[in-house]
Protein backbone atom coordinates (compact mmCIF):
# COMPACT_ATOMS: atom_id res chain seq x y z
CA UNK A 1 0.00 0.00 0.00
CA UNK A 2 1.19 3.51 -0.78
CA UNK A 3 2.35 5.75 2.01
CA UNK A 4 0.09 8.74 2.59
CA UNK A 5 1.33 12.31 2.59
CA UNK A 6 -0.15 15.41 4.16
CA UNK A 7 1.01 18.73 2.71
CA UNK A 8 0.55 21.68 5.07
CA UNK A 9 0.47 24.98 3.21
CA UNK A 10 1.19 27.91 5.54
CA UNK A 11 1.96 30.84 3.24
CA UNK A 12 -0.35 33.44 1.72
CA UNK A 13 -0.73 33.26 -2.09
CA UNK A 14 0.91 36.68 -2.57
CA UNK A 15 3.91 36.01 -0.35
CA UNK A 16 6.11 34.28 -2.92
CA UNK A 17 6.17 30.93 -4.68
CA UNK A 18 5.55 28.85 -1.54
CA UNK A 19 1.78 28.46 -1.99
CA UNK A 20 2.29 27.45 -5.62
CA UNK A 21 5.09 25.05 -4.72
CA UNK A 22 3.04 23.36 -1.97
CA UNK A 23 0.20 22.90 -4.45
CA UNK A 24 2.62 21.47 -7.03
CA UNK A 25 3.62 18.71 -4.59
CA UNK A 26 -0.06 17.87 -4.11
CA UNK A 27 -0.81 17.84 -7.84
CA UNK A 28 2.25 15.70 -8.61
CA UNK A 29 1.14 13.20 -5.96
CA UNK A 30 -2.36 13.15 -7.43
CA UNK A 31 -0.89 12.42 -10.86
CA UNK A 32 0.73 9.31 -9.37
CA UNK A 33 -2.54 8.31 -7.65
CA UNK A 34 -0.92 8.61 -4.24
CA UNK A 35 -2.99 9.21 -1.09
CA UNK A 36 -2.47 12.94 -0.53
CA UNK A 37 -4.08 15.41 1.83
CA UNK A 38 -3.78 19.18 1.83
CA UNK A 39 -4.19 21.36 4.91
CA UNK A 40 -4.27 25.16 4.85
CA UNK A 41 -2.88 26.55 8.08
CA UNK A 42 -1.93 30.01 9.36
CA UNK A 43 -1.58 32.48 6.45
CA UNK A 44 -2.12 29.54 4.07
CA UNK A 45 -5.87 29.98 4.57
CA UNK A 46 -5.66 33.21 2.55
CA UNK A 47 -5.41 30.90 -0.47
CA UNK A 48 -9.07 30.04 0.20
CA UNK A 49 -10.31 33.65 0.37
CA UNK A 50 -13.21 34.36 -1.99
CA UNK A 51 -12.99 37.00 -4.75
CA UNK A 52 -9.22 37.17 -4.96
CA UNK A 53 -7.76 39.75 -7.32
CA UNK A 54 -4.38 38.21 -7.96
CA UNK A 55 -3.89 40.24 -11.15
CA UNK A 56 -3.96 43.46 -9.13
CA UNK A 57 -0.67 42.40 -7.52
CA UNK A 58 0.63 40.94 -10.78
CA UNK A 59 0.29 37.37 -9.52
CA UNK A 60 -1.23 34.27 -10.99
CA UNK A 61 -4.54 33.24 -9.43
CA UNK A 62 -4.25 29.88 -7.69
CA UNK A 63 -7.89 29.59 -6.66
CA UNK A 64 -9.01 27.99 -9.93
CA UNK A 65 -6.37 25.28 -9.37
CA UNK A 66 -7.68 24.69 -5.85
CA UNK A 67 -11.24 24.29 -7.12
CA UNK A 68 -10.02 21.70 -9.61
CA UNK A 69 -8.21 19.51 -7.04
CA UNK A 70 -11.06 16.98 -7.14
CA UNK A 71 -10.41 16.44 -10.84
CA UNK A 72 -6.87 15.41 -9.92
CA UNK A 73 -8.10 12.90 -7.38
CA UNK A 74 -7.38 15.13 -4.39
CA UNK A 75 -10.46 15.05 -2.17
CA UNK A 76 -8.89 15.45 1.25
CA UNK A 77 -8.60 19.23 1.49
CA UNK A 78 -8.76 20.86 4.91
CA UNK A 79 -8.42 24.27 6.50
CA UNK A 80 -7.70 25.30 10.07
CA UNK A 81 -10.88 26.92 11.44
CA UNK A 82 -8.89 28.96 13.97
CA UNK A 83 -6.67 30.38 11.20
CA UNK A 84 -9.78 31.26 9.16
CA UNK A 85 -11.53 33.00 12.04
CA UNK A 86 -8.41 34.88 13.10
CA UNK A 87 -8.19 36.34 9.59
CA UNK A 88 -11.89 37.09 9.21
CA UNK A 89 -12.38 34.58 6.40
CA UNK A 90 -15.68 32.76 5.73
CA UNK A 91 -15.96 28.95 5.79
CA UNK A 92 -14.18 27.78 2.61
CA UNK A 93 -16.15 26.36 -0.30
CA UNK A 94 -13.54 23.79 -1.31
CA UNK A 95 -12.03 22.70 2.00
CA UNK A 96 -13.30 21.16 5.20
CA UNK A 97 -12.68 23.37 8.23
CA UNK A 98 -11.13 21.57 11.20
CA UNK A 99 -10.50 22.64 14.79
CA UNK A 100 -7.16 22.09 16.55
CA UNK A 101 -8.14 18.72 17.98
CA UNK A 102 -9.22 17.44 14.56
CA UNK A 103 -5.95 18.74 13.06
CA UNK A 104 -3.90 16.78 15.62
CA UNK A 105 -5.80 13.66 14.60
CA UNK A 106 -5.42 14.49 10.91
CA UNK A 107 -1.63 14.83 11.13
CA UNK A 108 -1.50 11.59 13.08
CA UNK A 109 -3.38 9.77 10.32
CA UNK A 110 -0.79 10.43 7.62
CA UNK A 111 2.47 8.54 7.19
CA UNK A 112 4.47 11.61 6.16
CA UNK A 113 4.00 15.36 6.50
CA UNK A 114 5.51 18.20 4.48
CA UNK A 115 5.08 21.74 5.77
CA UNK A 116 5.80 24.64 3.42
Amino acid sequence: MSRSLLVISRQAPWSGPSAREALDIVLAGGAFDLPIGLLFLDDGVFQLAPNQAAKAVQQKDLSANLQALGLFGIDDVFACSHSLTARGLPPPAHAQALDSQAIFQLIDRYDQVITL
Partner: protein
Protein backbone atom coordinates in the same frame (compact mmCIF):
# COMPACT_ATOMS: atom_id res chain seq x y z
CA UNK B 1 16.54 2.89 8.56
CA UNK B 2 15.97 4.39 5.13
CA UNK B 3 15.77 8.18 5.12
CA UNK B 4 14.56 10.58 2.45
CA UNK B 5 15.82 14.10 3.13
CA UNK B 6 14.14 17.23 1.76
CA UNK B 7 15.79 20.64 2.01
CA UNK B 8 13.98 23.94 1.39
CA UNK B 9 16.64 26.49 2.30
CA UNK B 10 19.70 28.08 0.71
CA UNK B 11 23.29 27.24 1.63
CA UNK B 12 23.61 30.31 3.83
CA UNK B 13 20.68 29.25 6.04
CA UNK B 14 21.54 27.39 9.25
CA UNK B 15 18.92 24.78 8.28
CA UNK B 16 21.01 23.79 5.23
CA UNK B 17 23.95 23.10 7.55
CA UNK B 18 21.67 21.20 9.94
CA UNK B 19 20.40 19.05 7.08
CA UNK B 20 23.98 18.25 6.05
CA UNK B 21 24.96 17.36 9.62
CA UNK B 22 21.86 15.16 9.92
CA UNK B 23 22.66 13.41 6.64
CA UNK B 24 26.27 12.82 7.71
CA UNK B 25 25.12 11.47 11.09
CA UNK B 26 22.56 9.20 9.43
CA UNK B 27 25.23 7.55 7.28
CA UNK B 28 27.69 7.40 10.18
CA UNK B 29 25.00 5.62 12.19
CA UNK B 30 24.67 2.93 9.53
CA UNK B 31 21.45 4.25 8.02
CA UNK B 32 20.66 4.66 4.35
CA UNK B 33 19.73 7.85 2.50
CA UNK B 34 17.48 6.88 -0.40
CA UNK B 35 17.47 10.38 -1.87
CA UNK B 36 18.18 14.03 -1.15
CA UNK B 37 15.56 16.29 -2.68
CA UNK B 38 16.24 20.03 -2.80
CA UNK B 39 13.09 22.11 -3.25
CA UNK B 40 12.13 25.79 -3.00
CA UNK B 41 15.20 27.84 -1.93
CA UNK B 42 16.96 24.53 -1.27
CA UNK B 43 18.01 24.63 -4.93
CA UNK B 44 20.51 27.36 -3.92
CA UNK B 45 22.21 24.85 -1.63
CA UNK B 46 23.22 22.97 -4.78
CA UNK B 47 24.54 26.00 -6.66
CA UNK B 48 28.10 25.84 -7.89
CA UNK B 49 28.42 29.61 -7.94
CA UNK B 50 28.37 30.25 -4.22
CA UNK B 51 31.57 31.82 -2.95
CA UNK B 52 31.85 31.66 0.83
CA UNK B 53 34.21 34.06 2.66
CA UNK B 54 37.45 32.31 3.62
CA UNK B 55 36.64 32.26 7.32
CA UNK B 56 33.13 30.83 6.78
CA UNK B 57 31.90 27.34 6.00
CA UNK B 58 31.24 26.64 2.32
CA UNK B 59 28.08 24.58 2.80
CA UNK B 60 27.28 24.24 -0.92
CA UNK B 61 30.75 22.77 -1.52
CA UNK B 62 30.39 20.49 1.51
CA UNK B 63 27.07 19.24 0.14
CA UNK B 64 28.68 18.52 -3.24
CA UNK B 65 31.59 16.66 -1.67
CA UNK B 66 29.29 14.70 0.65
CA UNK B 67 26.99 13.60 -2.18
CA UNK B 68 29.95 12.67 -4.41
CA UNK B 69 31.86 10.84 -1.70
CA UNK B 70 28.90 8.64 -0.75
CA UNK B 71 27.50 8.45 -4.29
CA UNK B 72 24.10 9.61 -3.08
CA UNK B 73 21.10 10.35 -5.24
CA UNK B 74 21.05 14.16 -5.10
CA UNK B 75 18.01 15.57 -6.89
CA UNK B 76 17.26 19.27 -7.38
CA UNK B 77 13.68 20.12 -8.37
CA UNK B 78 13.79 21.39 -11.93
CA UNK B 79 10.80 23.77 -11.69
CA UNK B 80 12.07 25.32 -8.44
CA UNK B 81 15.59 25.58 -9.88
CA UNK B 82 14.59 27.22 -13.18
CA UNK B 83 12.50 29.79 -11.30
CA UNK B 84 15.55 30.67 -9.18
CA UNK B 85 18.20 30.64 -11.89
CA UNK B 86 19.90 27.39 -10.93
CA UNK B 87 20.67 25.79 -14.29
CA UNK B 88 22.72 22.88 -15.51
CA UNK B 89 24.38 22.95 -18.94
CA UNK B 90 21.39 21.37 -20.65
CA UNK B 91 18.85 23.86 -19.25
CA UNK B 92 21.17 26.84 -19.82
CA UNK B 93 21.38 25.80 -23.48
CA UNK B 94 17.64 25.18 -23.70
CA UNK B 95 16.76 28.65 -22.36
CA UNK B 96 19.78 30.40 -23.88
CA UNK B 97 21.28 31.54 -20.59
CA UNK B 98 24.99 32.24 -20.29
CA UNK B 99 25.59 30.84 -16.80
CA UNK B 100 25.70 27.22 -15.67
CA UNK B 101 25.67 26.80 -11.89
CA UNK B 102 24.57 23.22 -11.39
CA UNK B 103 26.80 20.27 -12.13
CA UNK B 104 27.38 16.69 -11.06
CA UNK B 105 26.74 15.15 -8.58
CA UNK B 106 23.40 16.98 -8.73
CA UNK B 107 20.62 15.95 -11.09
CA UNK B 108 17.68 18.14 -12.10
CA UNK B 109 14.39 16.28 -12.03
CA UNK B 110 10.71 16.64 -11.16
CA UNK B 111 8.53 16.33 -8.07
CA UNK B 112 7.84 12.70 -8.95
CA UNK B 113 11.30 12.02 -7.50
CA UNK B 114 10.16 13.43 -4.15
CA UNK B 115 7.07 11.23 -4.10
CA UNK B 116 9.11 8.23 -5.20
CA UNK B 117 11.57 8.82 -2.34
CA UNK B 118 8.71 9.20 0.17
CA UNK B 119 7.33 5.84 -0.94
CA UNK B 120 10.74 4.20 -0.70
CA UNK B 121 11.92 5.61 2.64
CA UNK B 122 10.93 4.74 6.19
CA UNK B 123 11.14 8.40 7.17
CA UNK B 124 10.98 11.70 5.33
CA UNK B 125 13.00 14.35 7.16
CA UNK B 126 12.48 17.97 6.03
CA UNK B 127 14.72 20.95 6.69
CA UNK B 128 13.74 24.54 6.03
CA UNK B 129 13.34 27.98 7.55
CA UNK B 130 16.18 29.67 9.42
Amino acid sequence: MKFAIALYSAAHAPSSRRALLFAQAALAGGHEIVRLFFYQDGVYSASNNIVAPQDEQDIARQWREFVSQHQLDGVVCIAAALRRGVLNAEEAARYQRSAVNLEAPWALSGLGQLHDAIQDADRLICFGGP
